[in-house]
Symmetry: C2
Subunit: 141 residues, 2 copies
């Protein structure tokens, strides 16, 4: 089954780049620095449904996204979650949390916040910053 | 640094068994079938801090826990999350969601529920059921 990004994930994020397994996007809400990782495989809802090789690549890519957030945004904690109750296509949320943020120390889903869109300029700058960081991490490997 | 399970994780769960990497426990709240996976390594807060070999083992063990929940409880979706804002020791929540549950399709953290403890008999039965399922999955590998 071919990969096609679910429309709801596409509509709520900005494309950054494709990694060997995942499509990497920036959530279109600047409340928290927030990445989506979506394995580019069709028909997958749960991690264990991926072939073993893809699972290994997934954890590697999750780690890379976490490291990038840690490096760029120096959060107090990274949060990582694959829920999928609304959009069953396997997607992993990886985002930065701060002791000063509106939900801390609760999960972000415990409070309601209005989405804060990026301006076009900020969006492009943010994506460029992330791409440079990913590139440095790749070279450091 | 030696591994010691954080007291808050210990107090909120029942020990099931140790896997090659993780301590596996049952959350002491029967609202949702809910497992904790805690890598038995000291001083780890984020997945990427684990050695590469441990990361591979972690995704394998996450997959095994997900498969066990799917097999035993036939949920509509598995939810998987590593948050750690309150308890920074790396721990992964893996739990079963149903279209009929109180929070669906929202994340469980969007609602407040009272914990429902297991009776001693039910707890032992549940642990036994999980251990048997894990054993079958191990043999099927």
């Amino acid at each position: 089954m071919d990969f096609a990004l679910d429309k709801r994930l596409d509509d709520s994020s900005h494309f950054i780049e494709d990694w060997p397994l995942c499509r990497v996007s920036l959530k279109s809400d600047r409340t928290w620095p927030w990445l989506y990782l979506v394995p580019r495989r069709g028909g997958i809802r749960e991690m264990y449904e991926l072939p073993a090789q893809d699972q290994v690549q997934l954890i590697r890519e999750i780690g890379m996204a976490q490291q990038a957030l840690q490096t760029l945004y120096t959060p107090d904690k990274i949060n990582t979650a694959a829920l999928g109750n609304m959009v069953p296509q396997l997607h992993i949320h990886i985002f930065a949390r701060y002791k000063t943020d509106a939900a801390w120390p609760k999960p972000v889903w415990a409070i309601q916040t209005d989405e804060i869109p990026y301006t076009e300029t900020d969006k492009l700058a943010e994506i460029q910053k992330l791409k440079s960081c990913f590139e440095k991490l790749r070279q450091g490997e």
